[in-house]
Point group: C2
Chain length 500, copies 2
Amino acid sequence: MKPNPKYQAYIDRLKKIADLGFAEAVLSWDQQTYLPKNGSQFRGQQMATLKTLAHEYFVDPKFGTLLKELAEEASLTEDQRINVKLTLKDYTRKQKYPQSFVEEQATVCAQAFGAWQEARGKNRFDTYRPFLEKIVDLKKRETQLVGYERHPYEALMEDYEPGLTVKKVDEVFAGIRSNLFPFFKELSKKPKPRHDFLTRQFPKDKQWAFSERSIGQIGYDFNAGRADFAPHPFCTTFGPGDTRITIRYNEHHFSQMFFAAVHEAGHALYEQGIPLAQEYGTPIGQAVSLAFHESQSRFWENNIARSQAYWKGNFGALKHEFPQNFADVTTDEFYRGINIVEPSFIRVEADELSYHAHIYIRYLVEKTLIEGQIKVEDLPAFWNDRYEEYLGIRPKTDAEGCLQDVHWSYGAFGYFPTYSLGSFYAAQLFAKMKSSFENLDKDIETGNFAPVLQWLRENVHKYGRKYNSSELLKRATGEELNVEHFMNYAKKKYGGVYGL
Amino acid sequence: MKPNPKYQAYIDRLKKIADLGFAEAVLSWDQQTYLPKNGSQFRGQQMATLKTLAHEYFVDPKFGTLLKELAEEASLTEDQRINVKLTLKDYTRKQKYPQSFVEEQATVCAQAFGAWQEARGKNRFDTYRPFLEKIVDLKKRETQLVGYERHPYEALMEDYEPGLTVKKVDEVFAGIRSNLFPFFKELSKKPKPRHDFLTRQFPKDKQWAFSERSIGQIGYDFNAGRADFAPHPFCTTFGPGDTRITIRYNEHHFSQMFFAAVHEAGHALYEQGIPLAQEYGTPIGQAVSLAFHESQSRFWENNIARSQAYWKGNFGALKHEFPQNFADVTTDEFYRGINIVEPSFIRVEADELSYHAHIYIRYLVEKTLIEGQIKVEDLPAFWNDRYEEYLGIRPKTDAEGCLQDVHWSYGAFGYFPTYSLGSFYAAQLFAKMKSSFENLDKDIETGNFAPVLQWLRENVHKYGRKYNSSELLKRATGEELNVEHFMNYAKKKYGGVYGL
């Protein structure tokens, strides 16, 4: 059947916008992997040009008219109607940003990023403060520009987790505060499992050989992607059949490459499961939300690759790669060593449980700043008080406190909650899988990951943005987000690790 | 001084077009170096989108109006006037191509490329013939579209070597035919110098270690570029401070990586010497012509890195890298072994002298096809007859005959002559340098390449397109193109190699 000509015009426009977006992704990947020192000067400008052009094609009023006409078109299929509805929603939102605001934000963020890097290096919050004040001011104005029904912070979260409410986040974290926080504090008082073997000498090539085999085993397709070294691990898609990851290494710490590689491969498995080719550039050809993206990476990293079953099956192979390092280590010791719980200052180094206190604090900071309840100048004290309250430790410097994350200098407010939601979604998907599979632990132990991936493909990946994230979670697991699943998983797993 | 606001608008437009062009170069480089197998499907489309957008911004009639106004502007500096004049010239030429012609050419070439690959693989000219016929037809129409004063082939050469005439090429090759062709035939009858040592075992990493040091020594700046493996060696620029090369290796042949790396580094040294940052996207920020580009690569590859002085200085280092391979080889034997002259069928494997017979034949083929003197169906016989006439050998198959080059399937007619001109320009520059430097051979032998590079920077690189290639050659060497310099160089060098 020939598509409706208006729908075809819509597809052609999205294709061009996607081409520009993917091209920008290639330039960004190259910037972080291979760009020579002197080339950095003009790369930002080149990426900005591609971004601006894509934006212009998207907010073009002629495209808006086409979308509004298509929204009334009776002849479209269900998927076509969903695509048009979502694009019109995106269009309506993006239309609300005047060009002057977009440019101001780009300029402020570019300056703020440099100021943040310097401030963190020198541990001087006061030099970063005026830039962060400008960003908070911009973000407040943004909430007015795009509008909101209940809480201004929701206008910002909408970019990362559409439909998410402050009420929902508060409710979720209320459960986490009263159940998870006391639990990880209790664990951190117990004797720490042995973990000396994690910081022995691990040659880079052997780390990658083991990581490469492992992510191949869970289903990452190296014909449709590749891995390159970069200062920070990330996952990026350049189009159908090309979803890459980056890795890094520390020859004196086993965990840095392996768990990050599995994490990024989890993101990549999601992208490789979206119908990117058939739905090139359309909403159904995109990931549903950041929290769902994060649920896929955390699922493979934590629920799978930090599980007892996984290492029952894989510790032999690891020992084979590093015979000397693990000669004196049992499978059980290794499993406990990679699952130590201990409150610490730096989010990206946090364990699987106390991590959520880091996120909760950032959520409180952002929400309270946007509400105007605190000022940027109050941030360091507010931050440190919360760390003391929720993690039981007080940062001694702002570098290990409120200066540690890059997000705000990019203007990313409303992003942090998706990190925790990702873990909670993952636990809920994992619980559903446990009850649906005959013996999930056995599959994990024997490396039979095909049914697991197949389940995710069928219940999550293939839909793209067809359903919003709460709908998708409900379809996949039969219920709304329920943090009980995460708490049950945490208590069972860590009760075992710590022999409670 | 603030630039003229119209000139600033002109610069802004060129900047955007350059951003798109450089982005396309990144995607193309990635396609040839790192693209995973399944990603190839959509990469062509993404590159085509960037190319089309850049073209649209360039041929936009509003830009044309601005250019025409600027051409009348009295307040511009000399360089600004030159930029505007050249851009207006480019605009006028590109304007002559109707969108339908551009699209037809893109479609025909895409099909022809696939057909060519298959035909070459199966050695079946007849399956490629209809596609080549379409391309020749397109090229004939193109000569009508853009127009010409003297010969239709000049309309095509204009894209690669602006201002080049058929009369000039005929004149140059007349000298080459009567002097060079008999000379290399004479040499090829002499006993062949020893060269067994070139096909010993050369581990890839050691080849690269030696090549890397060598191209660093001639001045290639690894802070402003890098080298990656690709099936074919090439040089590409992504903006100021980022000119990369690609390399390939054959562990059983020393020459494949080294001389190609020096060749590509020669191209890169040119790009690194153009004022790309100050003149981002303008004509003065671009290379003057393909022949001049080729002169830079051939200069470093042939005049320098295949010279006796070079190996007097570097053979020790090469021996140090491969002590076993060269234990029984003297510097003189090595120098003679890398300079063997022997007519052969494949252009890209030809020696420095008989190479020009390959080019001459292609020039004749193209010119005669465009004139309509022969038909595409006559091509194999025409080709084979010319090989017999000029090289004294007759191809047994079309795969080693008229199917060997990719150029025509890309629609590149008029490109080949620049390969020979590049060598002739290089020899003329080299002769000028010899007479200007106190002791050029000594500089080459001692690795003192800074003055050589400085001379090229000052006399060639820094001008970009400011002067056209014949003007630039005259400024740099004091005379028009004179193939005597190449003949003198060839006779002296190869007389020595063959002990005449």
